[in-house]
C-alpha cells in the first residue's frame, strides 16, 4: 500500500459542551497528535458541541484550565475544516458571531487568512459523514 493510499478521511464528531466533562479537551488532544499523521482531517460541532467554539471563554474562576485558545491554533496544525451545524446553533440562540474567529493561512493564495469554520445544515453534514473513513466520537 503506498503512502497516498494510506491517507484516510478522519472525522471528529464533537457533541458535548466543554468544561462540564473532559471530552472536548481530550478530543482536541487527539486532533493535535493526529495532525502529524497527515491524514485528511475534519471536525464537526453538533448539538452541545457548538458550545466548544463560543467566544470569551474564561475558566479561571472555576479552577479549571481554559483551552479555547487551542481551537484558534488548529490552523497551524493544518486542521482547516471545522463544520458547525446551523440547526444546533439556532436551537441554542447562537450565531456564528458568537463563536471564536478561527482562521488558517492558505499557502496557495499567498498565505491569505481564511475562515476555518464552515456552516453546514443537517443534511449537508449527513453527506459529509457518509464520505468519511474513520469517525471518532466525543
Amino acid at each position: 500500500m503506498s503512502d497516498e493510499q494510506q491517507k484516510k478521511k478522519f472525522f471528529y464528531l464533537n457533541r458535548k459542551a466543554p468544561y462540564g466533562t473532559i471530552y472536548a479537551l481530550e478530543s482536541l488532544e487527539v486532533v493535535l497528535i493526529g495532525a502529524a499523521f497527515e491524514q485528511d482531517v475534519s471536525l464537526a460541532f453538533v448539538d452541545d458541541g457548538v458550545f466548544q467554539l463560543m467566544d470569551n471563554q474564561d475558566a479561571a474562576g472555576t479552577g479549571m484550565k481554559g483551552f479555547s485558545k487551542i481551537y484558534r491554533a488548529l490552523g497551524d496544525y493544518e486542521v482547516r475544516k471545522l463544520y458547525v451545524e446551523k440547526e444546533s446553533l439556532e436551537t441554542r440562540g447562537l450565531s456564528v458571531e458568537d463563536l471564536m474567529p478561527i482562521t488558517y493561512e492558505d499557502e496557495d493564495e499567498d498565505y491569505a487568512e481564511k475562515p476555518s469554520i464552515i456552516l453546514v445544515d443537517k443534511s449537508e453534514l449527513a453527506k459529509i459523514i457518509a464520505d468519511q473513513d474513520v469517525v471518532m466520537s466525543f
Binding site: G20, T21, I22, T62, G63
Partner: protein, 149 residues
C-alpha cells in the same frame, strides 16, 4: 464554631446565614467531570465563610480523586493535591468508599494486604471506609450536598 456577628466581605446577602455543618458527596473522578472541581470550590468557600465540613465522601468514580498516582499536566490543577492540602489545613475528613474503591482500584496499605495486592495508591489525607460513613454524614450534617454526573 464561628458565628457571623456582622456583615463581612465575601458573604452573600443572606440575613439568616449562621455557621452550619455541611457534608459533601462527590460522585465523579477528577478531570473527567467538573463535579470534583465544583465540590472543591464549594468546600473551600464554605470553610472561608466559617462553616464546618463534617465529611467529604467520595463515591462512585469519585474514589478516583484519592489516588496519589495522578500526574496532571504541569499547567493544570492537581485535584488530588488540592484536596490533600485543604484537608491538611482544615483537618477535613476525606473518606473514600471501600466498595466503590475496590471496583475501581483504589487501595490503602491495609486493603492491599488484605486483598493480596503488591502496592497501594491512596493519597495522603484520604482514608478508605464503608458506606455507613456516608449515612452518618447525612445524619450528622445540617446539609448534604451531592456533586455528580
Amino acid at each position: 464554631m464561628f458565628e457571623f456577628g456582622s456583615p463581612r466581605e465575601g458573604l452573600v446577602h443572606s440575613t439568616s446565614e449562621v455557621a452550619l455543618r455541611f457534608s459533601i458527596q462527590i460522585n465523579e473522578g477528577p478531570y473527567t467531570h467538573q463535579a470534583s472541581d465544583t465540590a472543591y470550590q464549594f468546600t473551600k468557600a464554605a470553610l472561608e465563610k466559617g462553616h464546618e465540613i463534617f465529611r467529604v465522601f467520595f463515591y462512585h468514580d469519585g474514589v478516583n480523586n484519592g489516588t496519589r498516582y495522578t500526574v496532571p499536566p504541569q499547567d493544570d490543577r492537581n485535584l488530588q493535591k488540592l484536596w490533600t492540602e485543604l484537608a491538611e489545613k482544615h483537618k477535613l475528613d476525606l473518606v473514600v468508599c471501600i466498595a466503590a474503591a475496590q471496583r475501581r482500584g483504589i487501595l490503602d496499605a491495609n486493603e492491599a494486604k488484605r486483598q493480596g495486592k503488591d502496592g497501594d495508591n491512596i493519597a495522603p489525607g484520604f482514608r478508605i471506609s464503608g458506606l455507613g460513613q456516608l449515612i452518618e454524614a447525612g445524619i450528622q450534617a445540617d446539609r448534604l450536598i451531592v456533586f455528580g454526573d
